[in-house]
Symmetry: D2
Subunit: 408 residues, 4 copies
């Protein structure tokens, strides 16, 4: 790893920090830089990134700006939601799931350009560096990964701004001062963390939330929507078939309006420390409830309980950056196998921060009113069977009780 990179593909947002990285790569290593800017639904225009890259001397053919929203939702978000994945019981993994796709495109562009390295702007304390780099190495074990925040000596805001000024990097006025906290966004979520949010005892202020109205400001009357699934993936809202990214975009709007999907959370980072984040996942929160709802009638208990027991490990793998790993792929194979009949429609009530499934129906339903009914079931179920069922389930407990009684 000692030799310097010659050509680098940089994950470039167009913002101040990655512009500084761009320039630093040029000056520190004297290497050619290819910029990659992806639209993952973060809600920012990308063309300014092109102009900034040009301003920093990147040749047009080295500037890549791509709309990856459909790919992001179809190949990453939806497979993950088939698992009902929650990290540490609560977090919908909105940041984690975007990293492997970015790394995948960085590596693909490196191959296309004959570049020997990729670079990212994640710091040395967080999870994102791990996710970027594990993904990159899994896709190209010979690639170099440059993580300037772990290498350079620009260790204070002042030094960064000095470097920017010394290198003619334009600094937007509002970037002079320190941001009160750090933000990451994509089509699945917006996360905020750091600085003003570092005391987990203090409630986050209203200004932290950027993606949803507060439940208090949400409409005073509930709204109902219907979400239709096919083989575990959402395919329609209120009967209108939509592409994956459109589904999530629309659910985000429903969630935003009703104040759904806010989470104040202290989590365990893979690198060993606890951190506090404020997450907004409006559409994803609706999607989880909807998916759980359709599984309730279409998934058998054997499959469902196995899924539930595998989920924490699956979520941990994604959180820790192991999307491109054999064990994630094994779990995905199991999960996908379970979704063959997860097809049908749920009815959801949205109201002031809550989403609840209040109805579900499907031609694939396993719910049998004939069996469960309190009314006469016409012989569908013989209650006497339960006696034998219980007695054989109890047999080992009886043998235990007899044994233990001898030693009291």
């Amino acid at each position: 790893m000692s030799d310097a990179p010659k050509k680098v593909v940089l994950a470039y947002s167009g913002g101040l920090d990655t512009s500084i990285i761009l320039k630093w790569l040029q000056t520190e290593y004297g290497c050619e830089v290819i910029t990659f800017t992806a639209d993952l639904g973060q809600g920012e225009e990308l063309e300014p990134a092109r102009r900034k890259a040009e301003l920093l001397g990147i040749r047009p053919e080295n500037i890549h700006i791509e709309d990856l929203r459909e790919e992001f939702v179809r190949d990453f978000v939806f497979p993950m939601f088939r698992a009902n994945a929650l990290y540490e019981g609560m977090y919908l993994l909105g940041t984690s799931i975007a990293r492997p796709l970015i790394s995948q495109r960085l590596v693909e562009l490196a191959h296309q350009h004959g570049a020997d390295a990729v670079a990212h702007g994640a710091t040395g304390k967080g999870n994102d560096q791990v996710r970027f780099e594990l993904s990159a190495y899994a896709l190209d074990p010979a690639i170099k990964v440059i993580a300037p925040w772990r290498e350079w000596d620009l260790t204070s805001r002042t030094k960064l701004l000095e470097f920017a000024e010394a290198n003619q990097i334009p600094i937007a006025k509002d970037k002079r001062g320190e941001a009160p906290f750090s933000v990451d966004a994509n089509l699945l979520h917006t996360s905020s963390e750091g600085k003003a949010l570092e005391n987990p005892a203090e409630e986050a202020g209203a200004h932290v939330y950027q993606r949803t109205v507060s439940p208090e400001e949400a409409p005073d009357t509930p709204e109902y929507i219907e979400v239709t699934f096919e083989r575990g993936d959402a395919v329609a809202i209120n009967g209108v078939t939509l592409s994956p990214a459109s589904i999530l975009t629309d659910l985000n709007e429903y969630g935003r309006r009703h104040g759904i999907g806010r989470l104040d959370f202290v989590e365990n980072r893979f690198v060993g420390m606890k951190s506090r984040g404020i997450y907004e996942t409006p559409g994803g929160t609706i999607l989880l409830e909807a998916h759980r709802g359709i599984e309730q009638i279409t998934l058998d208990s054997g499959a469902g309980h196995l899924k539930d027991s595998l989920m924490p490990r699956y979520a941990e793998l994604i959180y820790n950056g192991f999307w491109f790993s054999p064990e994630r792929e094994m779990l995905q194979a199991a999960i996908d196998k379970s979704q063959e009949h997860v097809t049908g429609t749920v009815r959801l009530k949205l109201y002031k921060g809550s989403v609840n499934c209040v109805g579900r129906w499907s031609e694939h339903s396993l719910y049998s009113e004939a069996h469960v009914t309190f009314e006469d079931d016409a012989g569908a179920y013989d209650q006497k069977d339960a006696a034998g069922f219980i007695r054989l389930n109890a047999l080992r407990l009886k043998l235990l009780a007899n044994r233990n009684a001898r030693f009291k």
Copy 2:
């Protein structure tokens, strides 16, 4: 099981159904009946049960009415909440957790009275029969369990009422007609199921909910409360130390007022069918969020992730009736071990159906602002360590990628 019971302890609510069972036991088996009526917080007066039992000829010394609320919460509800137990991702197990305690008291009373049997009023289609009986057999493998609903020929409402009339069992006017659905309640929750609720596609009507106001009717301003934990159990609300049952009672009132803890759910019964239930768990829903909140800062990730991976199995055991089993006790030992430092206070926001942890603090906190800070951390964490951490985590992925590349 062929020989008839001679003396039976009956789980007796004082209602029509268990009164019919009482009489049926007397007439069918000619046996002496001891009644056991427990206050588990279901919100009904128990003294009428005494009068009805007397009316049906039970001798005063054979009538047992007990307030078990503290024992219920301390020895069953709280241990379960240490695990953050959710059945099938959503259900707080409010009915399941009450059954082992009732069975335990039935068996203890049987021993006290020299009875050879216990009896319960659960049907042959549900989970409760399993829970009652597995618990009873685990505590006394020689006990007989009488489940009249699986035995008798009173298979219609008409026949039941005829039997009641023929045996001078008083029938309250509102019991003449069929109840629109079946209800179970205790200090943790109220469940409603059956009949009018048997179509899972249809939203449950407002009248089904008996324990909480609707979110729409809840106050328009949020309320904040603080819950304090010691070693995993809630011990105080807003700084006021309370007994376990009082804690849950108070949380129920907070939850009721804010419309918290409603769940419309289709679940998989142990006996093999799906059923739809409407659950209201106001205090329990708050307690889960609070416990998750305090664990976020006091529980290490190794312990937390292990707990999360064990939880589905633990919840399934309780749901299926295996509270008194070696494997539940093993899991409990592991869970309890993890709770030694789960001590501290959380701040919760209650608003129109939602409860969210918005702050948490503890002398036992593992959260280290020194490590996580975006500011200068004075050497608490060396970002260069991350490079080695990532490279060794990536090593196997690189070896894999090299290998797999040879076979593409």
Copy 3:
């Protein structure tokens, strides 16, 4: 289930017990019987079964005799061995894995003949009844299953023989007396249990073992063989490519000769009791060691550890009769996914009851001498990376130690 079966497909071995069942079905239900006799490698000639069936009045077109050995190994044994499945740490599931295939053929023949029922000769105390019936119901939920041992009153050896004599069923001389224990055999194993073996404190006598020589009688010099795998399945021995059943047949012969695969075991039956069995699995024991050996170099640790953690559940599912269940299929999907590169050859030493992998090689190997070497590794691995790796893995333990020290 009240109405009698009209046409039954019987799992028929040609032995006394299933001949009695055949006659009993004819006399008890007056139904037409179709016999199904499968060669699963149990080592008995099947044509006598045809003659006996004819003698009992079965029409030729209703007699089915099939060689299922290839299907058995290819579709059941090999998939199971991909998982390294061991029930309760020791048992290779030789009986369990044969049952679903028999049930599958019974149901298929029932459909072919328009039969409404299938019948088996398993007793009411064992696991096999569960395996036969769960498989049958999973493949045809409307099928009737007749289990005569749970129904009839032929509850003693004497009554059985009387029934046989009364119905002109020929009784071989050696069947007059009671067998000293019960035997089941197929290409994977031979099991012996019951009667003379019911005391788990007493060593089983030499005569119990029918499939292997004793280690003491095995050759005094070791033998070495090489087994080659492709995608997790054995495909060749000593370089000779063989069909699945031939592979297992040959491994059985190697194992037999060297006294490999004997197991004296007390297991937990699904129906709640413990039982003691003597198992001989000569080829399977070699196959497990061989498969573990090839996985050692071709399977990544992430995949391997996940497989190991899923295995007990997978084995329990097969033991309990849930081969045809969604959760077994989910686990199989995960396991099969892991086997894509489990290709290569192992060298095994066979000697007096033991089989040990002593060498393994593969073009798919992940073993990197360049990384692991004690010699100069030419920069493949930077030992300094380990410092960071350890420090970040230690971080949470340090935070814990600091916290815990405050409360001592």
Copy 4:
């Protein structure tokens, strides 16, 4: 970590490598060195280590030589064997389990001497560095750990010998040349790895095995022994009560004589690479079979299956160095809970490399001949119960089959 250590406790074997480390610590850091030499049953005299330490200038009060064999077996080996722990299905963790105890004593001695650092002689490629350091940090988060092999420039055998000569460190004649492989030993096992063993395709030569005779050289007649357990731990052999270390010592002798416990294994190191080791665990191999044997009759299936499912994770934790972690302690609590009745005696047959349990008995036995018998069971078990048991277990499979049939 930048400032140099002032006083260091060194894990000192008395051999050449740790003598060089000792001198290097003195010269590199100018720090005072305390030596710690433990008898963990590695089979070497320790007094020479004292003389060598003195020769290298260590003051007598700074030399610690301790017999830790009883503590090692009682507090580390036995708790681990309660879990039937096997890493990657095969390895008995003989090296892994010794490291935490050594670290514990290093840290305790550091506290006693007011030392600020500990040092070990493990290399930067292996697992032992991780185990030593995670344990040390978990016990004292402020301790410094010196790992000379990751720091110094003595990167070849030649340089090491030059350093030794330049510093008057005596070099035994047989240490001039390179050892053909590296050896670690303690009361539980001897491991050999590296150099001559680095090709996993080649069988290890006979000279590699130092702890056991070869199966071929073992006695031609089997030997039988009986091992008695109390609450999961072995307490007597052939009826003679022994201390933990004496038990293991005696089992080692039985195993040595009969060629038991050899393992040729390729494993996945925590640091990401595969390595090949030759392990000899004679007594441990016997102990595992014995413990499995006594559990077969004294452990309930619920407890046993839970243990089996937790074991891989437990073993991985120990292998990876997380003995002193909350999750290992949680699992230990669960495992220990299960062992309360694991009391009784097993009979084992030892013969030419194999150990097999051939009998087991206990007053705590759960085996019920009354239930399992093929003979008349006097009503202990009603075979008709099985019908209901099977039908309810099949119910969900039938519902599935009905559903799936609609979509074929």
